[in-house]
């Protein structure tokens, strides 16, 4: 039964690679789309995804980590904490299109940001927040209580203990959770479709600073969607190659977090 699941998967990935092969190259990533996006590369989309992911994580990670610190280190076992935990789980289960509606209503319209990189990143941040909270909480709770108690017994304050003992010992677990959300943020289409990503935007080849916070941008996930449904006469290889790059980025990032996790396991001090 398990084989029945793994084998078709390998076949699908293999097929994707096979169809994408003619178009795959390093240039594909750094070139600009040419000839109505039928040739050339995907640089603006790749860059846009990079921006969106970085900015959304810079926003979500601190908030998420601090929320988890609160839940694991400060909160008492009462009904209020129970509600917070419930909210985290529910936030994680909100459909991506509802996040898009929220982003549209709250960031694009209410906050007056208009359709922009910032609005899209904020929407992605709200989306990735709950999982960062959950995984950080787990990493924090893995640190044995005895560590904290030893520190308190020496008169160190609660926050100093957290900063000096708990966090350094759980940093890899925290990072794992954050890295995992990179792939989520890179792969989602619905939340960015209405909050700041467009069909086409001209940028300079290899220009790393092409987008400003209030600009609109392209993104890999959206690019795959438009190129497979709207641009005619595209040689098959191009959308398949875009899919492969997106998939590749996501899987690579995930592999990184898995490696990190194995590293923690083997180097743990307890």
């Amino acid at each position: 039964m398990t084989l029945a699941m793994v084998v078709p998967l390998l076949l699908i990935v293999g097929f994707l690679l096979y169809k994408a092969w003619p178009a795959l190259s390093i240039d594909f990533v750094f070139e600009l789309p040419k000839n109505g996006m039928r040739e050339g590369g995907i640089w603006p989309a790749f860059l846009g995804t990079l921006y969106l992911v970085l900015i959304s994580l810079v926003i979500a990670a601190p908030i998420g980590v601090m929320a988890a610190i609160y839940l694991n280190e400060y909160a008492k076992e009462n009904w209020f904490t129970r509600i917070i935990n419930l909210a985290v789980i529910n936030l994680a289960g909100v459909p991506s299109i509802v996040h898009a509606l929220f982003g549209l209503g709250a960031f694009v319209l209410f906050a007056g940001l208009g359709r922009s990189v910032l609005a899209a990143s904020l929407t992605l941040a709200v989306m990735t927040l709950p999982v960062i909270i959950a995984s950080t909480k787990e990493a924090l709770s893995a640190v044995p209580m005895s560590f904290r108690q030893a520190s308190w017994n020496m008169g160190v304050s609660r926050w100093q203990t957290i900063r000096g003992i708990v966090m350094p010992n759980s940093v890899s677990g925290i990072l794992t959770g954050i890295i995992l959300q990179v792939s989520r943020a890179a792969g989602e289409t619905a939340p960015i479709m209405f909050t700041g990503v467009v069909f086409y935007k001209a940028v300079d080849k290899g220009d790393l600073l092409a987008y400003g916070l209030l600009d609109q941008c392209m993104a890999l996930a959206m690019h795959l969607y438009t190129i497979s449904t709207q641009v005619p006469g595209v040689p098959d290889a191009v959308p398949f190659a875009t899919a492969v790059i997106l998939l590749g980025v996501v899987l690579l990032v995930n592999a990184l977090s898995i490696v990190l996790r194995i590293y923690i396991r083997t180097h743990r001090k307890w």
Partner: protein, 304 residues
């Protein structure tokens, strides 16, 4: 501080300073302009019709090459989206494959005090596509109305006297989503007045989608811009009424108005455009821009 905390703080500091640089980049800094050409560019926002999205992108690309001080961003979403964006004030130019309705024009006037200005950028024939091996060659507007319209009576290929290759009799209707100008235009031309589209059609996202699916599905029928044809599909000849001549969608029949389902492609701006927007629209209407229209399978704007 432990080593790890130091690392984290440094990493965060790098990220934050990177963000600040990025955020301030667009506001104009004293960094040399050869290195960052994007900061001096002006932007034109262009949104709307999916039918036109590929020409719009081709124009943007070509214009960008000829004129590096202007950045044009192109968004699709359908003619309805473009008009909505124009009314909301979030786009400079709305691409539309249908005319703005009076209600929409009034809304724009009420919100911004300016009348929308209309430009005809080219012509498009809405082709009726079937699979290339489908025995059907021509069809009337009335039959299309019966196939696509609410309460229409034609649901099977046998009613048209046809047997598709894959043996399935049920006509699979491929349509577009309601934000599409193509959808609206087809409805107004083909579906009987006061009726809607029959439910149950596959409502696809883009003009290209439609043709792709039909190319793979012998028992499907659909409509899309004639510029989207591929080798796997066939365009039907269309006649206005039973017994009249059926015409193929091509440049000649559109220009002399014998092909019954053709329409102008529009660009709308709020009020008369000035400055770089006007320059851009003029360029698209020039020979260079109109050549791109032909290359993409559409018909140049009538010269008048």
């Amino acid at each position: 501080m432990t080593q790890v905390s130091l690392l984290k703080t440094t990493g965060l500091a790098i990220l934050v300073s990177g963000l600040i640089t990025v955020g301030c980049g667009k506001q104009g800094s004293t960094v040399s302009s050869e290195a960052r050409s994007s900061e001096n560019k002006k932007e034109i926002q262009n949104a709307g019709s999916d039918t036109m999205v590929n020409i719009a992108q081709a124009w943007a690309e070509a214009y960008g090459k000829a004129n590096s001080t202007v950045d044009i961003s192109v968004a699709g979403g359908g003619s309805g989206t473009g008009i909505a964006a124009l009314i909301n004030g979030t786009t400079d130019i709305a691409n539309c494959s249908r005319a703005m309705k009076n209600i929409e024009k009034k809304k724009a006037k009420n919100t911004h005090g300016k009348d929308p200005q209309q430009y005809i950028m080219g012509l498009d024939a809405l082709a009726v596509y079937v699979h290339k091996d489908n025995p059907l060659n021509e069809i009337t507007i009335e039959q299309l109305g019966q196939i696509y319209g609410e309460d229409g009576s034609i649901t099977k290929w046998s009613q048209l006297g046809i047997k598709p290759n894959d043996g399935h009799d049920e006509i699979i209707r491929i349509s577009r989503q309601s934000n599409s100008g193509t959808y609206v235009y087809f409805k107004e031309t083909v579906v009987p007045k006061g009726k809607e589209f029959k439910l149950g059609s596959l409502d696809l996202h883009g003009s290209k989608d439609v043709v792709e699916i039909i190319g793979n599905t012998p028992s499907a029928i659909g409509y899309s811009g004639m510029g989207y044809a591929t080798d796997h599909v066939k365009m039907l000849k269309v006649s206005s009424k039973q017994g009249q001549v059926a015409y193929t969608p091509n440049i000649e029949n559109v220009v002399n108005k014998t092909y019954p389902i053709s329409r102008p492609l529009y660009m709308y701006t709020l009020g008369v455009p000035t400055g770089r927007v006007k320059t851009y629209i003029d360029w698209c209407l020039s020979d260079a821009g109109q050549k791109i229209i032909i290359d993409n399978g559409f018909i140049p704007a009538p010269k008048n």
